[in-house]
């Protein structure tokens, strides 16, 4: 297998992903549709890779690159005529940068160049460094290494089950109950490469990063942001230090978590603006993928529910229902079985109690360390700007704000009220978990800045 195989092995699934998203995503004629389709389609394509690779192994077929690539060719050929009619990229009306003024063109040139520099530098790191981060070698890549070496799918089970397995038909590692999303991507890449290359198996992280940037820019443009706002905020996303590190130093699933949650949040935004079954299906699709990437993805997916309520009901009813839901959730905590695991955790493991010592480290992580540049300060300013927007704009951005606030509420509960507080105090987990929320936070910030700009420049 070769570079060509790797290219085909990801282009074909991503093509199918683009076709599916094109079917689901309104409206057909809007600027930014092409990068948005590329980004969301690419992410969906990677999910399809996971699904097919998992099903292939579970069906008892041996893992071999060429037959699986053949299967992908068939899938792409079969789905293209069926879905092509929805791919109305040609109908888009991209705004040429030439229409912008000279200083806007200068800004565009600078930020595009800087995006390129960041992408090149993280790519150099990614293709050079062997798998290195802690959990990558204890919980994620372990599974891929085994499946690739054995050429077949074997289950990873808890240690007690493994010790009791007299036939040695199962394996175990540090986190056998972690989702197998990134291991299957690494497996697929190794199959396409024809060998276990400890650096190149991480190529999906680069693809995810590119899809994320494309999705972000496309989403910004489709939401009405001009080229400059779209490009500048895409540069902000591309330059976030911890996000860069998670590509350069690939192996964790947090980058994927952030990308898929952004896709779900954007889909919610489209559903709110252009209600249809197809766009609701898009929300549900990307929300359903979240728990498959990381266990806590279930909670991020749950944070979308308030946004759905805001979009489906009147404002008063939605808030009433949210308050009721919060009360019910609080009450459920009292009666919920202490040992029942949800998303990999049980109440007894979480050790619920308030941990004040984690509060300042959380704020330090968001505002004072270098992980996010000035993102959270910009978010604070965006909150002020949002409060001063015209009612129409303010209301249209409210559902996403509620979703973000709910997600950050869960985030603060996690680090202030559970045993995970240690991950904040020692700075081992708090910034990483934030990655899930960062792209969507920046997206909402961009929407507010853009709306502010368009309101203030109206009539100029």
């Amino acid at each position: 297998m070769s570079v060509l195989a790797v290219a085909l092995g990801y282009l074909l699934p991503c093509w199918v992903g683009v076709l599916i998203v094109a079917r689901l995503l309104p409206p057909e004629h809007a600027p930014g549709r092409l990068p948005l389709l590329a980004g969301a389609g690419g992410l969906l394509g990677m999910m399809l890779v996971i699904a097919v690779t998992w099903a292939w192994g579970r069906a008892g077929f041996a893992y071999r690159g060429l037959p699986m690539l053949g299967a992908w060719s068939l899938i792409a050929v079969a789905t293209t005529p069926w879905l092509r009619k929805y791919l109305q990229i040609m109908g888009t009306t991209p705004v040429s940068p030439r229409q912008a003024s000279w200083h806007h063109r200068s800004v565009l040139a600078i930020v595009i160049m800087l995006i390129g520099v960041h992408v090149v530098l993280v790519t150099l790191d990614l293709i050079s460094n062997p798998v290195f981060p802690w959990d990558a070698t204890s919980a994620w890549a372990t599974k891929a290494r085994v499946w690739y070496a054995l050429g077949e799918w074997v289950p990873f089970v808890e240690k007690d089950l493994w010790l009791a397995d007299s036939k040695l038909a199962s394996y175990t590692d540090h986190m056998p109950n972690y989702p197998i999303f990134t291991p299957l991507l690494q497996l697929w890449t190794a199959l396409l490469l024809g060998s276990w290359d400890p650096s190149l198996v991480n190529l999906p992280w680069l693809l995810c990063f590119l899809c994320l940037l494309s999705l972000f820019y496309g989403g910004a443009r489709m939401a009405g942001a001009d080229v400059v706002h779209g490009a500048v905020f895409t540069f902000f996303l591309a330059s976030l230090p911890l996000l860069n590190t998670h590509v350069a130093f690939a192996g964790y699933a947090d980058l994927f978590m952030g990308a898929y949650w952004l896709a779900a949040v954007q889909a919610l935004f489209w559903w709110y603006r252009f209600p249809s079954r197809a766009s609701l299906a898009c929300v549900l699709l990307f929300a359903a993928i979240c728990p498959l990437v990381k266990n806590e993805g279930l909670f991020w997916a749950a944070a979308l529910v308030p946004g759905v309520l805001m979009a489906a009901l009147s404002r008063g009813r939605a808030y009433a229902l949210l308050a009721l839901g919060a009360g019910v959730a609080g009450a459920l905590l009292w009666v919920f079985p202490r040992d029942l695991e949800v998303a990999g955790h049980s109440l007894s493991q979480l050790g619920l109690a308030f941990r004040a010592e984690a509060f300042m480290p959380i704020l330090t992580s968001l505002f004072n360390l270098s992980s996010w540049h000035l993102l959270f300060s910009a978010f604070l300013l965006a909150l002020v700007l949002w409060s001063r927007l015209e009612r129409g704009n303010r209301n249209s951005l409210e559902p996403l704000l509620v979703v973000l606030l709910c997600a950050y509420g869960l985030f603060f509960v996690l680090f202030l009220f559970t045993g995970y507080a240690g991950g904040a105090v020692r700075f081992t987990a708090v910034s990483r978990i934030t990655i899930a929320l960062v792209p969507a936070t920046l997206f909402w910030t961009m929407l507010v800045f853009s709306a502010w700009h368009s309101e203030r420049s109206r009539g100029d």
Partner: protein, 403 residues
């Protein structure tokens, strides 16, 4: 009420709110714009907040006679300002305790001496371990009886400080009074310190995946990002609430953010290019195996190469060690052997769950010990396992369980 006067050329976009009829001035002109005192006051308050925030984020350490030791020369009193007498060779050494200090945020040293110290020279020395001098910096006389040293630019400061000391030299038996001995981070250095920190190349490490902090002790003071955030928020809020119309009509908040972001990102890019080029120089062009051998995991790669052939198909392998990192890496490179490794221990499951064909790889440090002639393994709980040694090196041992 005050007046600002400005010249406006073609396409001028004023930073001050213009009077309405001038708001779209494009031609040459000269205009006067009123600025209310309240706006200036808000801006001053914002910047004052920034200054106070930055100032409060730094600390200072003072020493006096009661808190220092004088191993060379002599101390006159044990209270108040330090009075000392140089020895017969004209030397005195004053050891300054540093226990509990965050020396990386303290980078300006200053001494105030009485006029009797005019003939003496004072230098600051620090040690990497007791007795071994790492660096010495002469204090510069900056006024009548005052000496100081800026340490921020010294690459050795504050690397692994064990102790710091003042060395005073002058005519023998001279009496010197040091009114104040102070180590602090000046406001300016406190602001510029983080910049200097960020320009120090820092390779990717195990913490890099968890957090990006390009400073040695960023939690102890206001970081560069903290300072930039305050500037951005002050400027942004000012523009939102009081800003001139033309400016806020445009994309001013975004451009202000972009400007500050570019500054922060330039420092990050510097680190990123260093790390990328460092990775390429370490691993570029190497084969898969050579790449692993060139990495910091070399020991575990070689260990796996030696051990894996001794674990036949159908056998289980238990990786036993107290080192989380060692166990994790060894296990990773030993896959696809069917293995057990438990982070945080216990290193092995109960003996009754082990089988006769199982292999145990012990990696130092481990609580498991070999007994006698090496045919028994004792666990911390006293359980004894009969074993046979299959392989060993300086820090690892592979045994087969015999039951």
């Amino acid at each position: 009420m005050s007046l600002f006067r400005t010249s406006c050329s073609k396409d001028c976009r004023s930073w001050l709110r213009p009077v309405p009829e001038l708001s779209r001035t494009h031609g040459e002109g000269r205009s006067s714009y009123p600025v209310t005192g309240s706006r200036t006051a808000v801006l001053v308050c914002c910047l004052l907040g920034l200054l106070i925030g930055a100032q409060s984020a730094h600390s200072a350490q003072h020493w006096d006679s009661s808190s220092v030791r004088v191993p060379v020369g002599s101390k006159v009193t044990d209270q108040g300002p330090l009075e000392l007498v140089l020895d017969s060779t004209g030397n005195a050494v004053i050891e300054l305790p540093t226990l509990g200090l965050h020396l990386d945020s303290l980078n300006r040293f200053a001494v105030s001496a009485s006029s009797s110290a005019d003939e003496v020279e004072i230098s600051l020395a620090w040690w990497i371990v007791e007795g071994i001098e790492l660096a010495t910096v002469p204090l510069v006389r900056s006024g009548q009886g005052t000496y100081h040293a800026q340490l921020a630019t010294n690459s050795d400061w504050p690397e692994t400080i064990g102790a710091i000391a003042l060395r005073v030299t002058g005519p023998p038996t001279t009496r010197v009074v040091l009114d104040d001995i102070r180590l602090d981070g000046s406001f300016l250095l406190n602001i510029t310190g983080p910049f200097a920190d960020r320009l120090r190349p820092q390779p990717l490490g195990h913490d890099s995946i968890n957090v990006t902090s390009l400073q040695s002790d960023s939690t102890q003071r206001l970081s560069l990002i903290g300072v930039l955030s305050m500037i951005f928020l002050s400027g942004g809020l000012y523009m939102v609430f009081f800003g001139p119309g033309r400016l806020t009509r445009g994309a001013a908040p975004m451009f202000l953010l972009l400007l500050i972001w570019l500054f922060a990102d330039s420092l990050w890019l510097y680190q990123l290019q260093y790390r990328s080029l460092n990775s390429v120089s370490l691993f570029g062009g190497l084969s898969t195996r050579d790449k692993l051998l060139a990495s910091s995991d070399r020991r575990f790669v070689e260990l796996a190469d030696a051990v894996a052939p001794l674990v036949p198909d159908g056998s289980r392998l238990f990786v036993a060690t107290q080192s989380d990192f060692g166990g994790m890496r060894a296990a990773y490179y030993l896959y696809p052997r069917n293995l057990y490794w438990k982070r945080g221990g216990p290193e092995l499951p109960p003996a009754e769950r082990l089988r006769s064909t199982d292999r145990i790889l012990l990696i130092a440090p481990s609580e498991l010990k070999l007994l006698g002639s090496g045919d028994e393994l004792i666990k911390p709980d006293g359980e004894i396992l009969p074993v046979k040694i299959l392989w060993s090196d300086n820090s690892a041992l592979l045994v087969e369980v015999l039951k």
